[in-house]
């Protein structure tokens, strides 16, 4: 009696196909306008540029699945890149370790404040964002003085092709981490709990789950994903700055929302977020290609998020 085996709902997979259709449509439209886009190197570039957003959105996805949000993720990303860059003279591995420690620290503070002290995630991460901006602004001229470029090996890894086009290192990193995240969400106890507390934290508590532990783990993982994304952004741009990941903050939320994850938690998956990320990346290429003004770009961006979110809510209301 294995009727219970697949737990992806019909509705979700239907909307995944719809998103996939939108992605293909956008891709063809862009290729029509700029034929170069319909080539393997262009696809490679697009995928490698989508990777950092995909990683930040991955962190955002698990936070939102628990009914939370992480508005400090862009500063965590920039901070991790900064620390890796500053610590790079003592070896890339050491530098990455420092970056990871930073992410774990910030993620822990976020997660424990939300989980143990019942802080509203929005305010907590907003406050954390302000604190981090302050810390790094002060840090640039004091304790973080020094390098503002990424270690050579990371710059290469963030840009180089992996074996052959269109596979780039960022894409491979994204694919590996994305695969791990899909495994985490669908095949592990922690994944189950992330969905569970987002759907009904009270029920999880009554079932004996220590909800704060799950939230702690969630925000730490989110911070680590943000940190990896930040190092990739730093590597791709070849330099680090406090504002490094700011342009990725709102898109990271938007990619998750487009991907069909409910901001209330409990429903959604990372597959949707991946498609959301790719849609936004192709969209930004399209808008850059047609030489649209920033104004039009922003308007289309907003309109698409609103339309997709509205469509989703109508689908779920009807069932």
């Amino acid at each position: 009696m294995s009727t219970l085996k697949n737990f992806a709902t019909v509705k979700v997979s239907k909307s995944i196909w719809a998103l996939f259709g939108i992605l293909i449509g956008l891709f063809l439209l862009t290729s029509f306008i700029d034929p170069y886009f319909f080539s393997i190197p262009a696809v490679g570039v697009t995928l490698s540029l989508a990777a950092p957003l995909g990683l930040l959105a991955a962190g955002q996805t698990i936070c939102m699945l628990t009914g939370g949000i992480d508005l400090s993720i862009a500063m965590i990303a920039a901070g991790a890149a900064f620390i890796v860059s500053v610590k790079s003279p003592s070896g890339t591995a050491t530098a990455l370790l420092w970056g990871a420690l930073f992410c774990i620290l910030v993620g822990s503070i976020n997660g424990l404040a939300v989980g143990l002290f019942g802080m509203n995630p929005l305010i907590m991460t907003l406050g954390m964002n302000a604190v981090l901006i302050g810390v790094f602004t002060v840090g640039v001229t004091t304790f973080l003085k020094g390098s503002s470029s990424m270690p050579e090996i990371l710059v290469t890894a963030s840009n180089a092709t992996f074996l052959f086009d269109p596979f780039s290192w960022p894409l491979v990193i994204w694919a590996v981490i994305g695969g791990m995240l899909l495994f985490l969400l669908n095949k592990t106890g922690l994944g189950r709990l992330i969905y569970a507390i987002g759907d009904n934290a009270q029920a999880a508590r009554l079932a004996g789950v220590k909800v704060w532990q799950v939230q702690w783990a969630t925000y730490v993982i989110c911070a680590l994903l943000g940190g990896i994304g930040g190092v990739l952004i730093g590597g791709q741009s070849g330099a680090v700055a406090i504002s490094l990941a700011n342009p990725f903050l709102l898109p990271s939320v938007a990619a998750v929302v487009i991907g069909g994850t409910s901001i209330m938690g409990g429903i959604g998956n990372y597959t949707g977020t991946i498609l959301g990320t790719l849609i936004l990346t192709v969209l930004s290429y399209l808008l850059a290609t047609i030489n649209s003004s920033e104004a039009v770009k922003q308007m289309i961006y907003g309109a698409i998020i609103l339309t997709l979110a509205w469509t989703y809510s109508k689908i779920s209301q009807n069932s």
């Binding site: 009727t3 219970l4 106890g189 922690l190 009904n200 079932a207 004996g208 220590k210 409990g266």
Partner: protein
């Protein structure tokens, strides 16, 4: 439509999806009449009141007021037409001062203060509603309703858990309304009140008005039999046959437990392999008792002993570790509505950090499939638990503990709003647990279930154990009497 009736409800029906709340309800109220509306939990009283006051609209049927058909679009609309409800949960905005609450409903402050004064209360209009005790708040809500001079006042279980002096005040007010030629619909579980003050009584059962009669002396039997209805529909239910196991060890002992709003001093014990029934009217503190035992809430005083060891719970996980599992009354608080049956059933398996790793798929399949099979859960709507019927949802909340194992199952009204067939399955399940040597503490609002499933029962009244009855004495009359505060010899 009869002209001399104030209110006439005709063949009103209401369904929520597959759940039928009201099948066919009729009710007539004359001017100057206090009309009792009676029925067991889930009989449809609240739905009828909601339709009557414009909170929801009925699917079919009509309501007429003074012989005119009416359809209230909102509670405000109803109030303007002279129909004012007072609910068990006062409809006051918690974060807003009383003054502003009054302004919101357009209530005259002076008039309101006069009503409050007449009740012998005094309130500070600047106080915010959230800071006021619930009984006072209900009286405030009542005074606000009275300030609008309603033709028809609807009191929905307002006297439940109200101190005696305030409950008497409510009765005085009803009589005063009657003298003024106004009508009252009174919903209450306190049979003594109904006998003494009501003129007429209508009993609802399963969404139908099964009986309507003049309320004078000695109608208790008629009310009770109308509320309980034909007992035939559960005739083929197997009665508890196993005799109480007095010689076995005590599993759990509760000593002088107090806490929450109503629980004052409760002591009892459960033996291994015993099903202990708990009977009580709404609001006697039984819900808090269950929450304490489940580790969900903390008692103010008193002791809990498990296997003779005194214990305290910080988190439900502590109770679960000791084998105490909880099936809450509100299924919504136990289920993850958007997740699958499988995830809901397997939830407790991941409660420790050690189990956060890879899910052992085969093992999980086996346990989940076992639970599904042994509970006969209908898995057609497996993808989202919210699409299951109430009965199947309830099975999932119980089945969760079957997958984990337990020593004591705390079941709070597990059959509320569930069809008869599933109820039967749940009774059998509880019996099976007992036969396996597990204990069950079962609160039920359907008193007949106690005789069907329990070994023994306690009755809680006003936060205390009113009666401790062996199975032979657990007939519905005894339980009903004890639940209403009458002494029953054990």
């Amino acid at each position: 439509m009869t002209k001399d009736l104030l209110l006439e409800i005709n063949s009103v029906a209401k369904s929520y999806g597959p759940v039928v709340a009201l099948k066919n309800a009729n009710l007539s109220v004359r001017p100057g009449e206090i009309h009792a509306l009676l029925g067991a939990n889930g009989a449809g009283k609240s739905t009828l009141v909601k339709i009557l006051t414009g909170v929801i609209s009925s699917d079919t049927g009509y309501i007429s007021l003074h012989g005119q058909k009416v359809q209230f679009s909102s509670p405000d609309d109803a109030r303007k037409n002279g129909v004012a409800p007072v609910f068990q949960d006062p409809a006051l905005i918690p974060d807003v001062s009383l003054q502003r609450n009054l302004a919101l409903t357009g209530t005259n402050e002076k008039r309101f203060l006069k009503e409050i004064e007449a009740m012998g209360l005094s309130v500070n209009l600047n106080e915010i509603a959230a800071n006021i005790e619930l009984p006072t708040l209900r009286m405030i809500d009542l005074a606000r309703a009275l300030s609008h001079d309603p033709e028809l006042l609807i009191l929905d279980e307002i006297t439940a858990a109200l101190p005696i002096d305030l409950a008497d005040k409510v009765i005085e007010i009803m009589n005063a309304q009657k003298e003024k030629g106004k009508s009252v619909i009174f919903i209450s579980h306190r049979l003594a009140e109904i006998e003494s003050i009501c003129d007429w009584a209508t009993v609802l059962r399963d969404g139908i008005d099964v009986d309507s009669f003049e309320a004078n002396k000695q109608i208790e039997d008629r009310i009770v039999s109308a509320m309980l209805g034909e007992k035939n529909n559960v005739a083929n239910a197997t009665r508890r046959t196993k005799q109480s196991s007095q010689d076995t060890e005590t599993l759990l002992e509760v000593v002088n437990l107090s806490g929450g709003k109503n629980l004052t001093d409760v002591s009892f014990e459960i033996k291994k392999g015993e099903v202990l029934g708990v009977a009580a009217l709404e609001g006697q503190g039984q819900d808090f008792l269950f929450e304490i035992l489940a580790g969900q809430s903390k008692p103010d005083s008193g002791e809990i002993l498990v296997n003779g060891q005194k214990i305290t719970f910080k988190h439900p996980a502590d109770a679960i570790k000791l084998g105490i599992s909880y099936v809450p009354g509100d299924r919504k608080s136990a289920l993850m509505p958007q997740r699958s049956i499988r995830e809901n059933l397997a939830l407790t398996r991941f409660r420790g950090v050690r189990n956060w790793g890879r899910i052992k798929g085969k093992e999980e399949n086996r346990t989940v499939d076992n639970a599904v099979a042994s509970l006969e859960i209908d898995t057609r709507a497996k993808s989202q638990v919210k699409r299951l019927s109430g009965g199947n949802q309830q099975k999932v909340t119980i089945g969760r503990w079957v997958t984990t194992g337990f020593d004591l199952l705390l079941c709070f009204d597990p059959t509320r709003g569930i069809d008869v067939g599933t109820k039967q399955q749940i009774y059998e399940l509880i019996r099976k647990f007992a036969d396996e040597g597990k204990s069950v503490l079962l609160f039920t609002s359907e008193l007949r279930e106690i005789a069907l499933t329990c070994d023994r029962a306690i009755v809680i009244y006003e936060g205390k154990v009113q009666a401790n009855l062996e199975i032979e004495k657990c007939n519905e009359e005894n339980l009903m009497n004890a639940a209403h505060g009458l002494v029953v010899s054990s």
